[in-house]
Protein backbone atom coordinates (compact mmCIF):
# COMPACT_ATOMS: atom_id res chain seq x y z
CA UNK A 1 0.00 0.00 0.00
CA UNK A 2 2.99 2.27 0.19
CA UNK A 3 3.19 4.35 -2.95
CA UNK A 4 6.40 4.35 -4.92
CA UNK A 5 7.96 7.40 -6.59
CA UNK A 6 7.64 5.75 -9.93
CA UNK A 7 3.88 6.07 -9.79
CA UNK A 8 3.35 9.69 -8.94
CA UNK A 9 3.73 12.93 -10.79
CA UNK A 10 5.52 15.96 -9.31
CA UNK A 11 2.41 18.01 -8.59
CA UNK A 12 0.74 15.20 -6.69
CA UNK A 13 3.89 14.40 -4.74
CA UNK A 14 4.54 18.03 -3.92
CA UNK A 15 0.96 18.80 -2.92
CA UNK A 16 0.80 15.94 -0.49
CA UNK A 17 4.25 16.69 0.89
CA UNK A 18 3.08 20.18 1.70
CA UNK A 19 -0.06 18.82 3.32
CA UNK A 20 1.84 16.26 5.39
CA UNK A 21 4.49 18.73 6.48
CA UNK A 22 1.80 21.18 7.42
CA UNK A 23 0.08 18.56 9.52
CA UNK A 24 3.40 17.64 11.10
CA UNK A 25 4.12 21.23 12.01
CA UNK A 26 0.61 21.57 13.40
CA UNK A 27 1.00 18.38 15.46
CA UNK A 28 4.38 19.47 16.78
CA UNK A 29 2.93 22.77 17.91
CA UNK A 30 0.04 21.02 19.65
CA UNK A 31 2.50 19.16 21.87
CA UNK A 32 3.64 21.68 24.47
CA UNK A 33 7.12 21.36 26.02
CA UNK A 34 5.78 20.03 29.32
CA UNK A 35 4.00 17.23 27.49
CA UNK A 36 6.86 16.83 25.02
CA UNK A 37 9.28 16.17 27.86
CA UNK A 38 7.36 13.06 28.74
CA UNK A 39 6.26 11.98 25.31
CA UNK A 40 9.46 12.26 23.30
CA UNK A 41 11.18 9.16 24.67
CA UNK A 42 7.89 7.29 24.48
CA UNK A 43 7.32 8.31 20.88
CA UNK A 44 10.75 7.09 19.87
CA UNK A 45 10.36 3.80 21.64
CA UNK A 46 6.84 3.13 20.44
CA UNK A 47 7.84 3.84 16.88
CA UNK A 48 10.67 1.36 17.22
CA UNK A 49 8.20 -1.07 18.77
CA UNK A 50 6.04 -0.96 15.64
CA UNK A 51 9.09 -1.94 13.60
CA UNK A 52 10.12 -4.66 15.99
CA UNK A 53 6.57 -5.99 16.22
CA UNK A 54 6.60 -6.43 12.47
CA UNK A 55 9.29 -9.03 13.00
CA UNK A 56 6.89 -11.21 14.89
CA UNK A 57 4.75 -12.89 12.30
CA UNK A 58 1.37 -14.33 12.98
CA UNK A 59 -0.67 -16.64 10.86
CA UNK A 60 -3.98 -15.35 9.57
CA UNK A 61 -6.68 -17.86 10.62
CA UNK A 62 -8.42 -18.87 7.42
CA UNK A 63 -5.74 -18.34 4.86
CA UNK A 64 -2.75 -19.62 6.80
CA UNK A 65 -0.53 -16.96 5.32
CA UNK A 66 1.43 -14.77 7.66
CA UNK A 67 0.99 -11.09 8.30
CA UNK A 68 2.24 -8.31 10.46
CA UNK A 69 1.13 -5.13 12.18
CA UNK A 70 0.68 -1.84 10.38
CA UNK A 71 0.73 0.39 13.43
CA UNK A 72 -1.25 3.58 12.97
CA UNK A 73 -4.12 2.73 15.26
CA UNK A 74 -2.13 1.30 18.16
CA UNK A 75 0.09 4.36 18.13
CA UNK A 76 -2.91 6.66 18.31
CA UNK A 77 -4.25 4.69 21.25
CA UNK A 78 -0.95 4.85 23.06
CA UNK A 79 0.16 8.36 22.30
CA UNK A 80 -2.78 10.42 21.19
CA UNK A 81 -3.40 11.70 17.65
CA UNK A 82 -0.73 14.39 17.34
CA UNK A 83 2.18 12.39 18.68
CA UNK A 84 1.04 9.29 16.81
CA UNK A 85 0.97 11.19 13.54
CA UNK A 86 4.54 12.35 14.03
CA UNK A 87 5.63 8.82 14.87
CA UNK A 88 3.91 7.46 11.75
CA UNK A 89 5.73 10.10 9.75
CA UNK A 90 9.11 8.95 10.99
CA UNK A 91 8.21 5.26 10.65
CA UNK A 92 7.21 5.76 7.03
CA UNK A 93 10.35 7.82 6.43
CA UNK A 94 12.57 5.04 7.74
CA UNK A 95 10.64 2.48 5.70
CA UNK A 96 11.07 4.60 2.59
CA UNK A 97 14.75 5.26 3.18
CA UNK A 98 15.97 1.88 4.30
CA UNK A 99 13.46 -0.65 3.14
CA UNK A 100 12.56 0.90 -0.22
CA UNK A 101 8.98 0.57 0.96
CA UNK A 102 7.57 3.67 -0.59
CA UNK A 103 9.39 6.47 -2.37
CA UNK A 104 10.84 9.61 -0.85
CA UNK A 105 8.78 11.94 -3.01
CA UNK A 106 5.77 9.75 -2.35
CA UNK A 107 6.42 10.01 1.40
CA UNK A 108 4.01 12.90 1.62
CA UNK A 109 1.32 10.74 0.06
CA UNK A 110 2.09 7.77 2.28
CA UNK A 111 2.09 9.86 5.44
CA UNK A 112 -1.26 11.27 4.45
CA UNK A 113 -2.78 7.94 3.44
CA UNK A 114 -1.48 5.89 6.35
CA UNK A 115 -1.06 8.47 9.08
CA UNK A 116 -3.68 11.12 8.68
CA UNK A 117 -6.72 8.85 8.52
CA UNK A 118 -6.10 6.59 11.53
CA UNK A 119 -4.67 9.30 13.78
CA UNK A 120 -6.78 12.35 13.11
CA UNK A 121 -10.02 10.93 11.83
CA UNK A 122 -10.70 7.32 12.75
CA UNK A 123 -9.16 7.28 16.20
CA UNK A 124 -11.07 10.23 17.69
CA UNK A 125 -14.27 9.80 15.72
CA UNK A 126 -14.63 6.04 15.56
CA UNK A 127 -12.40 4.15 17.93
CA UNK A 128 -12.93 6.23 21.02
CA UNK A 129 -16.65 6.35 20.48
CA UNK A 130 -16.91 2.60 20.04
CA UNK A 131 -14.49 1.65 22.78
CA UNK A 132 -15.70 4.08 25.40
CA UNK A 133 -13.97 4.80 28.68
CA UNK A 134 -13.62 1.37 30.19
CA UNK A 135 -13.94 -1.14 27.39
CA UNK A 136 -14.63 -4.85 27.58
CA UNK A 137 -12.87 -7.28 25.31
CA UNK A 138 -15.81 -7.31 22.96
CA UNK A 139 -15.90 -3.56 22.62
CA UNK A 140 -12.14 -3.43 22.04
CA UNK A 141 -12.53 -6.01 19.30
CA UNK A 142 -15.38 -4.20 17.59
CA UNK A 143 -13.74 -0.82 17.86
CA UNK A 144 -10.41 -2.11 16.54
CA UNK A 145 -11.84 -4.00 13.59
CA UNK A 146 -14.14 -1.21 12.50
CA UNK A 147 -11.34 1.33 12.87
CA UNK A 148 -8.89 -0.87 11.02
CA UNK A 149 -11.26 -1.43 8.13
CA UNK A 150 -12.23 2.22 7.83
CA UNK A 151 -8.68 3.57 8.05
CA UNK A 152 -7.44 1.21 5.40
CA UNK A 153 -10.38 1.81 3.10
CA UNK A 154 -9.85 5.54 3.26
CA UNK A 155 -6.13 5.16 2.81
CA UNK A 156 -6.52 2.79 -0.14
CA UNK A 157 -8.99 5.10 -1.81
CA UNK A 158 -6.55 7.96 -1.51
CA UNK A 159 -3.92 5.81 -3.18
CA UNK A 160 -6.31 5.28 -6.08
CA UNK A 161 -6.99 9.00 -6.37
CA UNK A 162 -3.35 9.96 -6.19
CA UNK A 163 -2.33 7.37 -8.78
CA UNK A 164 -5.13 8.44 -11.05
CA UNK A 165 -4.30 12.14 -10.89
CA UNK A 166 -0.64 11.33 -11.52
CA UNK A 167 -1.50 9.45 -14.66
CA UNK A 168 1.48 7.12 -14.80
CA UNK A 169 -0.29 3.86 -14.26
CA UNK A 170 -2.66 2.67 -16.95
CA UNK A 171 -5.24 1.29 -14.56
CA UNK A 172 -8.55 3.00 -15.04
CA UNK A 173 -10.43 4.25 -12.01
CA UNK A 174 -13.09 1.54 -11.90
CA UNK A 175 -10.71 -1.38 -12.15
CA UNK A 176 -8.29 0.15 -9.70
CA UNK A 177 -10.97 0.70 -7.10
CA UNK A 178 -12.30 -2.81 -7.53
CA UNK A 179 -8.77 -4.08 -7.02
CA UNK A 180 -7.74 -1.96 -4.08
CA UNK A 181 -10.75 -1.73 -1.83
CA UNK A 182 -11.50 -5.46 -1.33
CA UNK A 183 -7.85 -6.30 -0.70
CA UNK A 184 -7.61 -3.57 1.85
CA UNK A 185 -10.85 -4.64 3.42
CA UNK A 186 -9.18 -7.93 4.25
CA UNK A 187 -6.01 -6.17 5.40
CA UNK A 188 -8.11 -3.83 7.50
CA UNK A 189 -9.87 -6.67 9.25
CA UNK A 190 -6.57 -8.34 10.03
CA UNK A 191 -5.08 -5.08 11.28
CA UNK A 192 -8.14 -4.62 13.46
CA UNK A 193 -7.86 -8.12 14.92
CA UNK A 194 -4.20 -7.68 15.58
CA UNK A 195 -4.70 -4.29 17.20
CA UNK A 196 -7.45 -5.77 19.34
CA UNK A 197 -5.18 -8.60 20.50
CA UNK A 198 -2.52 -6.11 21.47
CA UNK A 199 -4.84 -3.65 23.15
CA UNK A 200 -6.58 -6.41 25.11
CA UNK A 201 -3.29 -7.71 26.39
CA UNK A 202 -2.06 -4.32 27.48
CA UNK A 203 -5.43 -3.36 28.92
CA UNK A 204 -5.39 -6.41 31.12
CA UNK A 205 -1.74 -6.14 32.14
CA UNK A 206 -1.18 -2.41 32.51
CA UNK A 207 -4.27 -0.34 31.80
CA UNK A 208 -2.60 2.93 32.71
CA UNK A 209 -0.47 2.63 29.60
CA UNK A 210 -3.54 3.09 27.45
CA UNK A 211 -4.98 5.95 29.41
CA UNK A 212 -1.94 7.88 28.44
CA UNK A 213 -3.72 10.16 26.03
CA UNK A 214 -3.83 13.58 27.67
CA UNK A 215 -3.46 15.29 24.33
CA UNK A 216 -6.32 13.48 22.65
CA UNK A 217 -9.48 15.42 22.06
CA UNK A 218 -12.54 13.78 23.60
CA UNK A 219 -15.16 12.68 21.13
CA UNK A 220 -17.62 15.41 20.41
CA UNK A 221 -15.09 18.13 20.80
CA UNK A 222 -12.89 16.92 17.98
CA UNK A 223 -11.17 19.77 16.27
CA UNK A 224 -11.85 19.51 12.58
CA UNK A 225 -9.23 22.12 11.97
CA UNK A 226 -6.45 19.70 11.06
CA UNK A 227 -8.78 17.83 8.73
CA UNK A 228 -9.97 20.94 6.97
CA UNK A 229 -6.57 22.53 6.88
CA UNK A 230 -5.15 19.38 5.36
CA UNK A 231 -7.75 19.29 2.63
CA UNK A 232 -7.49 23.00 1.94
CA UNK A 233 -3.76 22.79 1.55
CA UNK A 234 -3.98 19.81 -0.75
CA UNK A 235 -6.55 21.52 -2.91
CA UNK A 236 -4.68 24.80 -3.06
CA UNK A 237 -1.34 23.38 -3.87
CA UNK A 238 -2.71 20.83 -6.32
CA UNK A 239 -4.55 23.55 -8.13
CA UNK A 240 -1.56 25.83 -8.28
CA UNK A 241 0.81 23.13 -9.36
CA UNK A 242 -1.53 21.66 -11.92
CA UNK A 243 -1.84 25.10 -13.45
CA UNK A 244 1.90 25.48 -13.62
CA UNK A 245 2.30 21.99 -14.97
CA UNK A 246 -0.34 22.49 -17.60
CA UNK A 247 1.03 25.83 -18.68
CA UNK A 248 4.51 24.43 -19.18
CA UNK A 249 3.44 21.04 -20.45
CA UNK A 250 0.36 21.61 -22.50
CA UNK A 251 0.99 18.37 -24.30
CA UNK A 252 0.79 16.33 -21.08
CA UNK A 253 -2.59 17.60 -20.00
CA UNK A 254 -4.18 17.51 -23.40
CA UNK A 255 -2.76 14.10 -23.88
CA UNK A 256 -4.36 12.80 -20.69
CA UNK A 257 -7.56 14.45 -21.74
CA UNK A 258 -7.33 12.70 -25.06
CA UNK A 259 -6.83 9.42 -23.22
CA UNK A 260 -9.94 9.75 -21.17
CA UNK A 261 -12.29 11.23 -23.67
CA UNK A 262 -10.88 10.39 -27.04
CA UNK A 263 -10.81 13.98 -28.18
CA UNK A 264 -8.01 16.50 -28.18
CA UNK A 265 -10.21 19.29 -27.01
CA UNK A 266 -13.74 19.36 -25.86
CA UNK A 267 -16.14 21.90 -27.20
CA UNK A 268 -17.96 23.34 -24.24
CA UNK A 269 -21.73 22.96 -24.36
CA UNK A 270 -23.27 26.30 -25.19
CA UNK A 271 -26.12 26.09 -22.72
CA UNK A 272 -26.39 25.41 -19.07
CA UNK A 273 -23.85 25.95 -16.40
CA UNK A 274 -20.71 25.61 -18.44
CA UNK A 275 -20.65 29.02 -20.12
CA UNK A 276 -21.24 30.62 -16.72
CA UNK A 277 -18.46 28.63 -15.20
CA UNK A 278 -16.21 29.20 -18.14
CA UNK A 279 -16.93 32.88 -17.95
CA UNK A 280 -16.20 32.91 -14.24
CA UNK A 281 -12.99 31.09 -14.72
CA UNK A 282 -11.91 33.41 -17.43
CA UNK A 283 -12.37 36.27 -15.09
CA UNK A 284 -10.58 34.68 -12.17
CA UNK A 285 -8.00 32.42 -13.74
CA UNK A 286 -4.63 33.68 -14.74
CA UNK A 287 -4.54 31.43 -17.71
CA UNK A 288 -7.96 31.46 -19.31
CA UNK A 289 -6.97 28.75 -21.75
CA UNK A 290 -5.95 26.48 -18.95
CA UNK A 291 -9.07 27.27 -16.98
CA UNK A 292 -11.17 26.24 -19.91
CA UNK A 293 -9.22 23.07 -20.37
CA UNK A 294 -9.53 22.28 -16.68
CA UNK A 295 -13.26 22.64 -16.72
CA UNK A 296 -13.57 20.34 -19.70
CA UNK A 297 -11.12 17.87 -18.27
CA UNK A 298 -13.07 17.66 -15.06
CA UNK A 299 -16.13 16.98 -17.11
CA UNK A 300 -14.25 14.49 -19.22
CA UNK A 301 -12.99 12.54 -16.25
CA UNK A 302 -16.53 11.95 -15.11
CA UNK A 303 -17.31 10.31 -18.40
CA UNK A 304 -16.71 6.60 -18.79
CA UNK A 305 -12.96 6.27 -19.00
CA UNK A 306 -12.79 2.54 -18.95
CA UNK A 307 -14.31 1.28 -22.17
CA UNK A 308 -13.09 3.90 -24.59
CA UNK A 309 -9.90 2.73 -26.20
CA UNK A 310 -7.49 5.60 -26.71
CA UNK A 311 -8.27 6.96 -30.16
CA UNK A 312 -5.69 9.62 -30.41
CA UNK A 313 -2.21 9.03 -29.27
CA UNK A 314 0.48 11.61 -29.79
CA UNK A 315 2.15 9.94 -32.69
CA UNK A 316 5.83 9.37 -32.24
CA UNK A 317 7.59 9.67 -35.54
CA UNK A 318 9.53 6.59 -36.49
CA UNK A 319 12.72 8.50 -37.02
CA UNK A 320 12.68 10.04 -33.56
CA UNK A 321 11.87 6.77 -31.86
CA UNK A 322 14.68 4.76 -33.43
CA UNK A 323 17.09 7.57 -32.73
CA UNK A 324 15.76 7.59 -29.22
CA UNK A 325 16.48 3.92 -28.72
CA UNK A 326 19.96 4.19 -30.15
CA UNK A 327 20.73 7.32 -28.24
CA UNK A 328 19.28 5.89 -25.06
CA UNK A 329 21.46 2.83 -25.27
CA UNK A 330 24.51 4.94 -25.92
CA UNK A 331 23.81 7.21 -22.97
CA UNK A 332 23.46 4.23 -20.70
CA UNK A 333 26.74 2.82 -21.91
CA UNK A 334 28.28 6.24 -21.39
CA UNK A 335 26.99 6.41 -17.85
CA UNK A 336 28.51 3.04 -17.02
CA UNK A 337 31.76 4.07 -18.67
CA UNK A 338 31.94 7.30 -16.71
CA UNK A 339 31.22 5.49 -13.49
CA UNK A 340 33.87 2.88 -14.09
CA UNK A 341 36.52 5.36 -15.19
CA UNK A 342 35.92 7.61 -12.20
CA UNK A 343 36.45 4.63 -9.97
CA UNK A 344 39.65 3.70 -11.75
CA UNK A 345 40.95 7.24 -11.52
CA UNK A 346 40.16 7.28 -7.84
CA UNK A 347 41.90 4.01 -7.25
CA UNK A 348 44.97 5.09 -9.16
CA UNK A 349 45.11 8.33 -7.23
CA UNK A 350 44.90 6.46 -3.95
CA UNK A 351 47.69 4.14 -4.96
CA UNK A 352 49.86 7.04 -6.11
CA UNK A 353 49.41 9.04 -2.94
CA UNK A 354 49.40 6.63 0.01
Amino acid sequence: MHMADALISPPVGAALWVASMGLAAYSARQIKPEVAERKIPLMGVMGAFVFAAQMINFSIPVTGSSGHLGGGMILAILLGPHAAFLVMFSILAVQALFFADGGLLALGCNVFNLGFWPCFVIYPLVFRRLAGGSPTRGRILTASVVSGVLSLQLGAFCVVLETLVSGISELPFGAFVLLMQPIHLAIGVVEGLVTAALVSFVWRARPEVLELTPGAPTPGTVSLKPVLTGFAMVALVTGALLSWFASTHPDGLEWSMARTTGKEELAAPTDGIHPTLAGLQEKTAFLPDYGFAEASEAEGADAEPVEEAPEQWPTVSAGTSVAGVVGGGMVLALAVLIGVSLRLIRRRRNVATP
Binding site: V35, E37, F49, M55, V336
Partner: protein, 270 residues
Protein backbone atom coordinates in the same frame (compact mmCIF):
# COMPACT_ATOMS: atom_id res chain seq x y z
CA UNK B 1 8.52 -5.48 2.61
CA UNK B 2 11.89 -6.76 3.62
CA UNK B 3 12.18 -8.61 6.88
CA UNK B 4 13.50 -6.41 9.62
CA UNK B 5 16.24 -8.63 10.91
CA UNK B 6 17.69 -9.19 7.48
CA UNK B 7 17.28 -5.56 6.62
CA UNK B 8 18.93 -4.30 9.79
CA UNK B 9 22.18 -5.74 8.62
CA UNK B 10 21.78 -3.69 5.47
CA UNK B 11 20.85 -0.63 7.47
CA UNK B 12 24.01 -1.03 9.43
CA UNK B 13 25.98 -1.52 6.24
CA UNK B 14 24.61 1.72 4.84
CA UNK B 15 25.42 3.45 8.08
CA UNK B 16 29.00 2.25 7.93
CA UNK B 17 29.33 3.43 4.37
CA UNK B 18 28.08 6.81 5.43
CA UNK B 19 30.91 7.02 7.94
CA UNK B 20 33.43 6.83 5.10
CA UNK B 21 35.17 9.69 3.40
CA UNK B 22 34.98 11.02 -0.12
CA UNK B 23 34.29 14.33 -1.81
CA UNK B 24 30.61 13.45 -1.80
CA UNK B 25 30.68 12.59 1.89
CA UNK B 26 32.20 15.94 2.66
CA UNK B 27 29.37 17.91 1.08
CA UNK B 28 26.85 19.52 3.37
CA UNK B 29 23.90 17.13 3.88
CA UNK B 30 21.49 19.88 2.94
CA UNK B 31 23.11 20.19 -0.48
CA UNK B 32 22.82 16.48 -1.07
CA UNK B 33 19.24 16.42 0.13
CA UNK B 34 18.26 19.27 -2.17
CA UNK B 35 20.04 17.71 -5.12
CA UNK B 36 18.42 14.34 -4.46
CA UNK B 37 14.98 15.92 -4.20
CA UNK B 38 15.53 17.77 -7.46
CA UNK B 39 16.68 14.55 -9.10
CA UNK B 40 13.62 12.67 -7.88
CA UNK B 41 11.26 15.36 -9.11
CA UNK B 42 12.96 15.37 -12.50
CA UNK B 43 12.87 11.60 -12.77
CA UNK B 44 9.15 11.43 -12.26
CA UNK B 45 8.29 14.42 -14.36
CA UNK B 46 8.72 12.70 -17.69
CA UNK B 47 5.70 11.83 -19.79
CA UNK B 48 4.70 8.31 -19.13
CA UNK B 49 5.88 6.64 -22.30
CA UNK B 50 9.39 8.05 -22.18
CA UNK B 51 12.11 5.48 -21.79
CA UNK B 52 15.09 6.60 -23.83
CA UNK B 53 14.67 10.17 -22.60
CA UNK B 54 15.22 8.97 -19.05
CA UNK B 55 18.62 7.46 -19.72
CA UNK B 56 20.76 10.62 -19.31
CA UNK B 57 19.60 10.71 -15.72
CA UNK B 58 21.68 7.63 -15.03
CA UNK B 59 24.75 9.80 -15.14
CA UNK B 60 23.86 11.27 -11.77
CA UNK B 61 23.79 8.06 -9.71
CA UNK B 62 26.68 6.63 -11.70
CA UNK B 63 28.86 9.61 -10.81
CA UNK B 64 27.85 9.63 -7.17
CA UNK B 65 28.46 5.91 -6.93
CA UNK B 66 31.95 6.26 -8.27
CA UNK B 67 33.04 9.44 -6.53
CA UNK B 68 31.35 8.44 -3.29
CA UNK B 69 33.09 5.09 -3.34
CA UNK B 70 29.87 3.19 -2.82
CA UNK B 71 30.15 -0.49 -3.73
CA UNK B 72 27.78 -1.34 -6.55
CA UNK B 73 26.65 -4.55 -4.97
CA UNK B 74 25.01 -2.73 -2.05
CA UNK B 75 22.81 -0.75 -4.40
CA UNK B 76 22.29 -3.76 -6.60
CA UNK B 77 21.06 -5.90 -3.72
CA UNK B 78 18.56 -3.32 -2.59
CA UNK B 79 17.23 -2.83 -6.07
CA UNK B 80 16.82 -6.56 -6.48
CA UNK B 81 15.02 -6.95 -3.18
CA UNK B 82 12.73 -4.01 -3.78
CA UNK B 83 11.90 -4.40 -7.45
CA UNK B 84 8.87 -6.63 -6.89
CA UNK B 85 7.06 -3.44 -5.87
CA UNK B 86 7.71 -1.70 -9.13
CA UNK B 87 6.90 -4.77 -11.16
CA UNK B 88 3.62 -5.20 -9.33
CA UNK B 89 2.73 -1.60 -9.81
CA UNK B 90 3.38 -1.40 -13.50
CA UNK B 91 2.50 -4.94 -14.45
CA UNK B 92 -0.96 -4.05 -15.64
CA UNK B 93 0.20 -1.49 -18.11
CA UNK B 94 1.14 -3.82 -20.94
CA UNK B 95 -2.22 -5.51 -20.59
CA UNK B 96 -4.22 -2.35 -20.67
CA UNK B 97 -2.50 -0.29 -23.30
CA UNK B 98 -1.91 -2.33 -26.40
CA UNK B 99 -1.76 0.50 -28.86
CA UNK B 100 1.46 0.27 -30.80
CA UNK B 101 3.60 3.25 -30.00
CA UNK B 102 6.81 2.68 -31.84
CA UNK B 103 8.64 0.32 -34.11
CA UNK B 104 12.12 -0.83 -33.37
CA UNK B 105 13.12 -2.50 -36.58
CA UNK B 106 10.58 -5.28 -37.11
CA UNK B 107 9.38 -5.19 -33.48
CA UNK B 108 6.21 -3.30 -32.61
CA UNK B 109 6.26 -2.07 -29.08
CA UNK B 110 2.98 -1.16 -27.45
CA UNK B 111 2.44 1.91 -25.33
CA UNK B 112 1.75 -0.33 -22.37
CA UNK B 113 5.13 -1.98 -22.54
CA UNK B 114 6.81 1.37 -22.92
CA UNK B 115 5.14 2.77 -19.86
CA UNK B 116 5.92 -0.38 -17.92
CA UNK B 117 9.60 -0.16 -18.77
CA UNK B 118 9.44 3.54 -18.00
CA UNK B 119 8.09 2.75 -14.55
CA UNK B 120 10.90 0.28 -13.97
CA UNK B 121 13.49 2.76 -15.10
CA UNK B 122 12.03 5.45 -12.89
CA UNK B 123 12.05 3.01 -10.04
CA UNK B 124 15.72 2.16 -10.46
CA UNK B 125 16.62 5.84 -10.71
CA UNK B 126 14.64 6.97 -7.69
CA UNK B 127 15.59 4.12 -5.39
CA UNK B 128 19.28 4.34 -6.21
CA UNK B 129 19.25 8.10 -5.71
CA UNK B 130 17.83 7.68 -2.22
CA UNK B 131 20.22 4.87 -1.35
CA UNK B 132 23.17 6.91 -2.52
CA UNK B 133 22.00 9.79 -0.41
CA UNK B 134 21.97 7.50 2.61
CA UNK B 135 25.24 5.81 1.76
CA UNK B 136 27.07 9.10 1.42
CA UNK B 137 25.34 11.04 4.13
CA UNK B 138 23.79 8.81 6.75
CA UNK B 139 20.37 8.87 8.31
CA UNK B 140 21.44 11.09 11.18
CA UNK B 141 22.89 13.79 8.96
CA UNK B 142 19.84 13.67 6.69
CA UNK B 143 17.67 14.30 9.75
CA UNK B 144 19.93 17.15 10.76
CA UNK B 145 19.59 18.61 7.27
CA UNK B 146 15.81 18.34 7.48
CA UNK B 147 15.87 20.16 10.79
CA UNK B 148 17.95 22.97 9.38
CA UNK B 149 15.73 23.17 6.31
CA UNK B 150 12.71 23.79 8.48
CA UNK B 151 11.22 20.47 9.54
CA UNK B 152 9.64 20.56 13.02
CA UNK B 153 12.29 19.84 15.64
CA UNK B 154 10.02 17.45 17.48
CA UNK B 155 9.68 15.33 14.36
CA UNK B 156 13.42 15.27 13.83
CA UNK B 157 14.30 14.44 17.43
CA UNK B 158 11.72 11.73 17.47
CA UNK B 159 13.00 10.27 14.20
CA UNK B 160 16.50 10.12 15.63
CA UNK B 161 15.39 8.35 18.77
CA UNK B 162 13.26 5.94 16.80
CA UNK B 163 16.25 5.00 14.70
CA UNK B 164 18.33 4.50 17.80
CA UNK B 165 15.76 2.25 19.46
CA UNK B 166 14.99 0.11 16.46
CA UNK B 167 18.24 -1.75 17.04
CA UNK B 168 17.55 -2.40 20.67
CA UNK B 169 13.97 -3.47 20.19
CA UNK B 170 14.69 -5.58 17.13
CA UNK B 171 17.22 -7.42 19.25
CA UNK B 172 14.64 -8.04 21.98
CA UNK B 173 12.05 -9.08 19.44
CA UNK B 174 14.36 -11.57 17.77
CA UNK B 175 15.22 -13.11 21.13
CA UNK B 176 11.54 -13.39 21.87
CA UNK B 177 10.80 -14.98 18.52
CA UNK B 178 13.60 -17.44 19.07
CA UNK B 179 12.36 -18.37 22.53
CA UNK B 180 8.87 -18.83 21.17
CA UNK B 181 9.93 -20.97 18.25
CA UNK B 182 11.97 -23.21 20.51
CA UNK B 183 8.81 -24.03 22.40
CA UNK B 184 6.35 -24.16 19.55
CA UNK B 185 7.64 -27.33 17.95
CA UNK B 186 7.48 -26.68 14.25
CA UNK B 187 4.81 -24.06 13.80
CA UNK B 188 6.46 -21.04 12.27
CA UNK B 189 4.04 -18.27 12.96
CA UNK B 190 2.11 -17.63 16.15
CA UNK B 191 -1.65 -17.49 16.27
CA UNK B 192 -3.03 -14.01 16.61
CA UNK B 193 -3.69 -14.68 20.27
CA UNK B 194 -0.11 -15.66 20.97
CA UNK B 195 1.07 -12.79 18.85
CA UNK B 196 -0.91 -10.52 21.09
CA UNK B 197 1.00 -11.81 24.10
CA UNK B 198 4.40 -11.67 22.45
CA UNK B 199 3.93 -8.25 20.95
CA UNK B 200 2.14 -7.08 24.06
CA UNK B 201 5.07 -8.06 26.22
CA UNK B 202 7.41 -6.36 23.83
CA UNK B 203 5.26 -3.27 23.97
CA UNK B 204 5.27 -3.15 27.76
CA UNK B 205 9.02 -3.64 27.86
CA UNK B 206 9.43 -0.93 25.27
CA UNK B 207 7.12 1.29 27.29
CA UNK B 208 9.15 0.75 30.45
CA UNK B 209 12.29 1.47 28.56
CA UNK B 210 10.69 4.68 27.37
CA UNK B 211 10.03 5.63 30.96
CA UNK B 212 13.59 4.87 31.96
CA UNK B 213 14.97 6.89 29.09
CA UNK B 214 12.67 9.69 30.15
CA UNK B 215 14.15 9.51 33.64
CA UNK B 216 17.65 9.54 32.22
CA UNK B 217 16.82 12.58 30.08
CA UNK B 218 15.37 14.41 33.06
CA UNK B 219 18.44 13.60 35.11
CA UNK B 220 20.47 15.46 32.52
CA UNK B 221 18.36 18.58 32.70
CA UNK B 222 15.89 17.92 29.88
CA UNK B 223 12.75 20.01 30.14
CA UNK B 224 11.06 19.47 26.81
CA UNK B 225 12.75 22.22 24.84
CA UNK B 226 14.76 20.97 21.91
CA UNK B 227 17.98 22.57 20.82
CA UNK B 228 18.78 23.57 17.25
CA UNK B 229 21.08 21.30 15.31
CA UNK B 230 24.63 22.52 15.11
CA UNK B 231 27.64 21.67 13.09
CA UNK B 232 26.40 22.04 9.54
CA UNK B 233 28.51 24.43 7.50
CA UNK B 234 27.60 25.41 3.99
CA UNK B 235 30.53 26.14 1.71
CA UNK B 236 31.08 27.26 -1.86
CA UNK B 237 31.55 23.65 -2.88
CA UNK B 238 28.02 22.87 -1.79
CA UNK B 239 26.57 25.73 -3.84
CA UNK B 240 28.55 24.49 -6.81
CA UNK B 241 27.22 20.99 -6.34
CA UNK B 242 23.60 22.10 -6.14
CA UNK B 243 23.87 24.48 -9.08
CA UNK B 244 25.77 21.93 -11.12
CA UNK B 245 23.26 19.18 -10.40
CA UNK B 246 20.40 21.51 -11.17
CA UNK B 247 21.96 22.50 -14.47
CA UNK B 248 22.57 18.88 -15.40
CA UNK B 249 18.98 17.99 -14.57
CA UNK B 250 17.59 20.77 -16.73
CA UNK B 251 19.78 19.74 -19.66
CA UNK B 252 18.90 16.07 -19.19
CA UNK B 253 15.21 16.79 -18.98
CA UNK B 254 14.81 19.17 -21.85
CA UNK B 255 17.85 18.57 -24.00
CA UNK B 256 16.60 15.40 -25.71
CA UNK B 257 20.11 14.10 -25.33
CA UNK B 258 19.33 10.50 -26.12
CA UNK B 259 17.57 11.26 -29.37
CA UNK B 260 20.21 13.76 -30.44
CA UNK B 261 23.04 11.38 -29.69
CA UNK B 262 21.26 8.60 -31.54
CA UNK B 263 20.60 10.75 -34.57
CA UNK B 264 24.16 12.00 -34.65
CA UNK B 265 25.49 8.47 -34.40
CA UNK B 266 23.22 7.22 -37.13
CA UNK B 267 24.18 10.17 -39.24
CA UNK B 268 27.83 9.36 -38.76
CA UNK B 269 27.32 5.73 -39.61
CA UNK B 270 25.24 6.44 -42.69
Amino acid sequence: MMRLDAALGDVDALDRLAAGDSPVHRLDPRAKLIATAAFLVTAISYPKHDVAELTPLFLYPATLLAVGRVPTRVIGRYLLLACPFAVLVGAFNPLLDRQTALHVGPLAVSGGWLSFISILVRFVLTVSAVLLLLACTGYVAVCAAMARLGAPRLLVMQSLMLYRFIFILADEASRMVRAHSLRSLGKHSASIQTWGSLAGNLLLRAYDRGLRVHTAMLARGFDGTLHPVRGLRWSGRDTLFVVGSGGFLVVARYGHLAVRLGQWTMGMLA
